[in-house]
Amino acid sequence: MSAKWVGRAILAALALLFALRIVQLKGKGLLHVATPRGSQAPSVAGPLLDGGRFALAGERGHAVALVFWAPWCGPCRAELPGVERVWRKLAAAPGTSPRARIVAVDTEGDPATAREAQAKLGLTMPIVLDDGSAAAAYQVTMIPQTVIVDAGGKVAALIRGEASEDELMRAIERVEKP
């Protein structure tokens, strides 16, 4: 076999890999965002780490920031203390309704590892244990990822990757005052 044909075979293999990936992507529906801006936010419901249950459907009337994370994820652990500070700023006085709510959605869904991270990072914001359905519905292919849902239950903003405290606060404020 000549060097020319081996070289061509390598280039053909790269082209074939490209074609196979396209076919698989189409099959997975990843060429489109499942939750575009303005679409109805998919359901998020699950047990809260500190007891009780969370349901996104019960949060109409104020914005909700869903912060997808996992205890093993370094950037998530770096982001969460800032998210906690934003959550505290937004927390409502007793008896009044909150301006906006932040919920950390643990994509791993394991209470033991979530509790360890909660204690280590000093988190008091609500943590929902996801069984994988919320992460799948929102096409969470990387974490951390934050989806902000407006008061009407529609997807309003998306932050891919680690969000700073200011960035998160600004994004929530934009959704509150469109």
């Binding site: 061509r8 075979a9 280039l11 790269l14 965002v33």
Partner: protein, 163 residues
């Protein structure tokens, strides 16, 4: 030598090919093109996702994804640069740095063949399988780099005599 002859030659006739590359037929753009092809073919799912996010939520949301995609070839770039610097240290031939970059082609070949096999069979590689693929690629690249060094050193006196 043409582009495909240079790539194929490194894999099936490395000594002869490295000798010709060291004699002045090496092109730095060959490896740069292959890096682009590898990024596009290997990380297409992330690119597609970044494009979809860009369309719906703007550049800010897509930027992080694009950064992560680009960082996928960072180990390759570091490896190519390290191989070039090392070869330049051991050999003063004019094209030593460019010649060393071709030693990355065997690593790329192993990666592409493995990715093709995993994608075609829809098999998600286990960490052990990933390690085996990495090791095989690095081992073949090291052999190629050693041959590149030998041939570049041989080319050194010839180049000096010419000058």
């Amino acid at each position: 030598m043409t582009f495909d002859e240079r790539i194929g030659g490194v894999l099936i006739a490395p000594r002869r090919t490295f000798a010709r590359l060291a004699a002045g037929e090496a092109r730095a753009s060959d490896v740069a093109w292959l890096l682009v092809f590898r990024l596009v073919a290997g990380e297409l799912d992330r690119f597609a996702r970044a494009l979809a996010v860009l369309r719906e939520f703007g550049a800010g949301a897509a930027a992080q994804e694009v950064l992560m995609v680009s960082s996928a070839v960072l180990p390759d770039i570091v490896g190519i640069l390290a191989a070039g610097v090392m070869l330049q240290l051991f050999c003063k031939a004019k094209h030593a740095f460019d010649v060393a970059a071709y030693a990355w082609i065997p690593y790329l070949t192993v990666q592409v063949v493995a990715a093709l096999a995993f994608t075609a069979t829809r098999h998600a590689p286990t960490p052990r399988e990933q390690s085996i693929v990495q090791l095989a690629g690095v081992a073949w690249a090291l052999v190629a780099w050693t041959l590149a060094l030998v041939e570049a050193r041989k080319a050194e006196p010839a180049a000096e005599a010419q000058s």
